[in-house]
Structures are given as C-alpha cells and as structure tokens.
Symmetry: C2
C-alpha cells in the first residue's frame, strides 16, 4: 500500500525531528494530538488545526460564525479522540486589510461561543494581515496521567466501532440543505463520549473521523500495526451515499476499538454507537470492506492524484 502525500511528508518531518526522548513530550508527531507530561498531575494534550479560505471553506458558502465554530471544533474533536477534557485554546488569525469588520466579528463570536460551551477558553493568539483569510487553532486538554486514548492501541480481536452517522458532512456540502448541511457547518465534537470511552468502556484506541472513515481507519490500523475488517452495517447518515459514508470527510465522529467482550451500549448521551467490524492480524493499515480491500481515499491535502 503506497501513499504519496501527507503521510510521506509527516514521515520526513518525524525523521528530521528525531525522537522527543529526554523531553517531557511522551507522544509526539503522528497521533491526533501530542502529550506533554508535567512532573505531577494530569497529562496535557495538544492539537493544532488550520482553516484556510478556499481550502477548508469558501466565503460564498460558509457563514463566518460557522467558520469560527468549525475552526475550534476540529481541534476539540482531536481532544475528544484522546479522551481529554478541554482546558484552553490559542487562535492565530490572518486576513486582508479589506475584510469587513462584521465578518471578522462573527467569526470570533462563533469561535468564542464554542470555546465557552466546552471549557476551551480563548487564552491568546496572534494577528496578521494576509491576502486571504486563514486561521490556526491550538487546543489543549487534560487527561489523567498515562490514560489518554491513542490511535496505536488497537489489538487483533478488538471490535471496531463508530459513533453517530457517517457521510452527513459530505452530503451537506453537496446539498446545502437540512440536517446534513447543519452537520457540515457546525460539527459537534464528541467530548463527553471520548471521556466515556476512556473511563468506562476502556477503549483500546480511538481516532476522530475528520478525513473520512477509509483514511482514518487506515491511520488507526497503521499506527497500531494491525489490519481492519468492516463487516457490520455502516451507520450511514440519512440520505448520504455509501461513497460519502466511506470516504467523506468532516463528520467528526469517533472511530474506536474495544476489547472483544465489552458490552457496547446502543448510544451514549444521545449519540448512537455502532459495531462495524473487527481488528485482525494482517499487514499494518490493510482494511477490508465486505470482503474487498478498502483504499484510504479520504481527504489528503498533498495527494498527487485529485480527490475522487
């Protein structure tokens, strides 16, 4: 399985950066988030995500408050996947001198509202001008020492599960109507669920489905050195195609693995939980869907061939 693009780039950076051994960084480049371990107390989990005009959003389509909401939601979803509780956020923003004040204010309102609702208080940032709007968000969460959910803990025999419904965001972007459109504009990071998976269900691994099930499952299996098999019915968002459910990005649901004998509740806090397959021995990152290999076609910024 050969991936050009982002995966290769991350490997190059990891090679240059070397190991963080000797530092207090106990998990570095390559997971949903980095983990910093103080001498005492909780581990702190950090993630950073960009939102770039004409790459992650389009001004004609996405209202500014939704852009602000999603800019933070993406990082919070990474914290959810680690089972961490949000503590604060940092926000760097660049925009043209000609940007309307109302747009910028609405962007900040959307960001700050979600920050307040989730405890990810806006603690600082940077401002600059640029030809087009972009922002970068760092989010910090806390988790009991050594307890963070990682993407590398899946073991053969584990069951593979997903929260919510898949393909809704891709459907929403295509249709711009109804519940799917609202899902696309204002994803709801699964923070409470992440803590439940870590504390109560004792999940062995988790990742958020930000770039599509196929690519994020590939990443989880690759990091864990295992293969994956999807054999159960997929929880497809009402109206979405199987293509959207398998490869559409930005659903921000959690994909997780549980020890085989775990009793999976049908939902947690109103969010359905579905067993979709199993973790198996096999080539790391290899995934089968209904007996056929499933290529990781989800969203990759640096793939050479265009997104299908």
């Amino acid at each position: 399985l050969k991936l050009t693009g982002e995966v290769e780039l991350v490997k190059m950076i990891q090679r240059l950066a070397g190991s963080p051994a000797g530092s207090r960084v106990v998990l570095g480049i390559g997971d949903d988030a980095a983990i910093y371990r103080p001498k005492t107390g909780d581990d702190l989990v950090f993630t950073t995500d960009m939102m770039i005009q004409d790459v992650h959003f389009v001004r004609a389509t996405h209202p500014p408050a939704a852009v602000g909401h999603k800019a933070l939601a993406r990082g919070l979803s990474d914290l959810a996947a680690m089972g961490a509780e949000p503590r604060f956020s940092l926000l760097s923003v660049a925009f043209p001198m000609t940007a309307e004040r109302a747009w910028i204010t609405a962007f900040f309102r959307g960001f700050i509202r979600l920050a307040r609702d989730t405890g990810a208080v806006l603690a600082g940032g940077d401002l600059a001008r640029a030809e087009r709007f972009f922002c970068d968000v760092s989010a910090c969460g806390a988790v009991a020492q050594g307890q963070a959910l990682r993407r590398d803990g899946a073991r053969p025999g584990d069951v593979l599960c997903v929260s919510g419904h898949l393909g809704g965001s891709a459907l929403g972007l295509a249709s711009r109507r109804g519940a799917a459109w609202r899902r696309h504009l204002r994803p709801n990071p699964r923070l409470d669920l992440g803590i439940f998976l870590r504390e109560t269900l004792r999940a062995t691994a988790a990742i958020d489905v930000s770039d599509g099930l196929s690519l994020d499952l590939y990443r989880l299996c690759l990091a864990s050195g295992v293969a994956g098999r999807i054999d159960g019915p997929l929880p497809v968002f009402h109206g979405a195609t199987m293509e959207q459910a398998l490869h559409g990005g930005e659903d921000y649901e959690l994909l997780f693995t549980l020890p085989a004998k775990t009793d999976l509740p049908s939902a947690y806090a109103g969010v359905p939980l579905t067993r979709i397959g199993t973790i198996e021995r096999g080539p790391p990152g290899y995934v089968e869907f209904r007996g056929e290999p499933l290529p990781p076609l989800g969203y990759d910024h640096f793939r050479v061939s265009p997104h299908p």
Copy 2:
C-alpha cells in the same frame, strides 16, 4: 494617544472573549504569552506566532532555513520575556503543491535545529496546502508557579533597561550585509537572560522588542498603567540609525524594568544590558524620548496609515 489597528482589534477580541475567570488560564489575551496553571507544579506559558510569505518574509530574500529558525525564534523570544524555559513547540505549515521539496526540507531543518538547541522539541502540528507559504508556531515554556515575568508589573520609580543593541534587524533588512543581516535572519532569543532577569534581578516587568522599541515600550507602559521616559543613551546597533533603533522591528531583545536600587550588571552571558530610562507616573502608555513624546510607530499589521 489613539491607536487604530491591532490594539483596537485585540480589545474587541478581549471584549468578546470575556474573562477567563473560573478556568485555569491565569493570564489571557494581551500579554506576550498566556499562562496556564495546573493544580500542582510549574505554570505553563504559551505563545503563538505566524510567519506569512510576503508579509513576514520574502522568498527571494530569506533562505528557507532562516525562515524556519525565525518562525520558532519569535515564540521563544516571547517565552524569554516571561522568564520561562522552553518545553515544546507545535508547527502548522501550509504551502502550494508546487513548493520545492528542498525549500520545505530546509525550512523544517532550520526550525528543528533551533527547537533542539533550546529544548522546544517539535511535538506536533498540522499540514495543508495554500496558495502561498505560511506557518503558525505555538511554543510552550515552564516557569515556577506565579513567577512568570509579565508586561503589567512596571511601577513608577523602576528603571527601564534593554538587552543587546537595537535597530540591527532593520539595518540588516535594508543593507543585507554583515552582522546586521545575520541578526535579521537568525535572531537569538534571550532565553537564559529572561531566567536571570526573573530569578536573580527580580525584574518587575518585561516584554520582547519584536515590533520596535517605541511600540513595545508603549505596550509595556499601557499594560502597567504607567508612563515611560527614555533619557539614557540608547544602545544602537553599529551602523543603524536612531530611527531604526527606536522603531525598527525584529530585534528580539528584552525590554525590562527593575526596582530602582537594583545593581544592573553591564552584561549577562555576553549580552550587554543598558539602563535607558525610568518608569514614571503619567498617562498609561505615554512615553517621552529626550523630552519629546515618542509615538508608538513600531510595526502594526492593521494600522491604517502605512508604516513610515
């Protein structure tokens, strides 16, 4: 004294964000860095800084390793101004599909080398494509609880001091030659000095001179609710003009205040320390230079009138 631009924007964001009261963020928007206080152990200090092609650097002029170096040095200089010791960094990078691999690799090498030298190990980040290169860096440092140097602690009667020589970076950008050019390309964050100022000299306030002495002194005085007077000889970088020393950006020296009776050494670890004036009662942010008001003309991304 009326400033449009970045100062107004920051006020708007502070107003929207409200107070971080009730959270563990003990210092929020508006200082060099934010402070997060865990239940036990050191305070953690966070700062975030962007480097944008054609805003902060130009490809024809700035070698990629220098861009990587400076992208991190800017954040480390903020940590130095807080008297904090670097712990890790996060790096978001966006660039065009057409970017040469050699340029990107050299950028990462420049960043990672400084990260290793200073303990700011690269722990994670984000990658995306964009029309032009930009990056955003978050840097984290640690400091004993409640001991961080802030910009709001200057009191009337304190002496006002600065490290190194001013105007070198502006001179270097203009001349592209010699020591000034090297200073512009590879600024050296004053990390050891920051810790010395905090632990040994018991500085009352500090800020790094990133946007020019006039603007950064204005910010320190405004935050502390005091006025400033520059009356001593300024340590002007060899060959730089007084204009460059007063208003030129990117020197990344430390501007700090000390109780009046402090014995100021002439240098620390090879970096000269110079008393340049005093802190006085007066309109917050008002600064005099040789008996005349000194306008804060340093670099402001959102000033309506262009930079002189």
